[in-house]
């Protein structure tokens, strides 16, 4: 049995915290431990931050889809901000830290599975999975 919860979010910084609290509550209801809930909160916030920073439409609205089952939580953050060319993305250099560019790296480190679908001219979907184990 899988439940779907969807949010449609204005692309404004102040709503990232709202989504973080909502996802935290959903993760808690699935029985994740405190550390896993913190991982999910950070990963989802990073994905939402990307959507807000890259917004191209007037209100930059993006969507957050949550798929809840006994085994796992799948969260997808989908924007219509025009996408990016993944060939030009490079992993941040951890020896020479700079502002920005850490978000995707952090998401990959904290979640069990991460898939990024992006299409230039359309948008980006970051799909993240955490297993309840």
């Amino acid at each position: 049995m899988t439940d779907m919860v969807k949010f449609s979010v204005p692309g404004k910084p102040q709503y990232v915290g709202t989504i973080r609290m909502a996802i935290s509550s959903l993760a808690n209801s699935l029985g994740f431990d405190v550390e896993a809930i913190e991982d999910i909160k950070v990963a989802v916030s990073e994905a939402c931050t990307n959507a807000v920073c890259h917004r191209s439409t007037i209100n930059g609205e993006y969507e957050v889809f949550c798929e809840l089952s006994k085994e796992r939580l799948v969260v997808s953050v989908v924007d219509k901000a025009g996408g990016y060319n993944p060939e030009t993305y490079s992993e941040p250099c951890l020896e020479c830290p700079k502002e920005g560019g850490l978000g995707i790296y952090i998401i990959k480190a904290l979640m069990d599975e991460v898939d990024i679908f992006t299409e230039v001219g359309i948008g980006t979907r970051i799909q993240m999975v955490k297993y309840t184990r």
């Binding site: 910084p13 973080r20 913190e38 950070v42 807000v52 790296y105 952090i106």
Partner: protein
């Protein structure tokens, strides 16, 4: 989400004590940036960030701290994080920033 920041200059040790309380994310990171910039403009000195009461931080906060770290290094000052909670420690560890910002956690 809220973020409150207290800052004071320790004359004896010649350093800033800055204590953020709450959450640092995309909406509150500018508050942290302003606090660090203002302090450093007032007096160029080392900065100790007391993280005891910081519940949450993500890459937006790390970005602000890295930016401040870079500017401060140019004039020979340091920025040190003290008592980050486990969730923030983990973030520092996976980004390797613990070695720069709180070396005692690496031991």
């Amino acid at each position: 989400m809220t973020l409150q920041i207290q800052r004071s200059f320790d004359q004896e040790k010649g350093r800033w004590n800055i204590t953020p309380k709450g959450d640092v994310d995309i909406s509150t990171a500018p508050v942290l940036r302003t606090a660090l910039d203002e302090a450093y403009r007032e007096a160029k000195a080392n900065v100790v960030l007391h993280f005891d009461q910081l519940n949450y931080m993500d890459s937006t906060g790390l970005g602000v701290i890295i930016g401040a770290y870079g500017r401060m290094k140019e004039s020979g000052n340091d920025i040190i994080l003290e008592n980050p909670r486990d969730n923030i420690k983990k973030l520092l560890r996976i980004t390797n920033l613990d070695r720069l910002l709180c070396p005692e956690l690496c031991e």
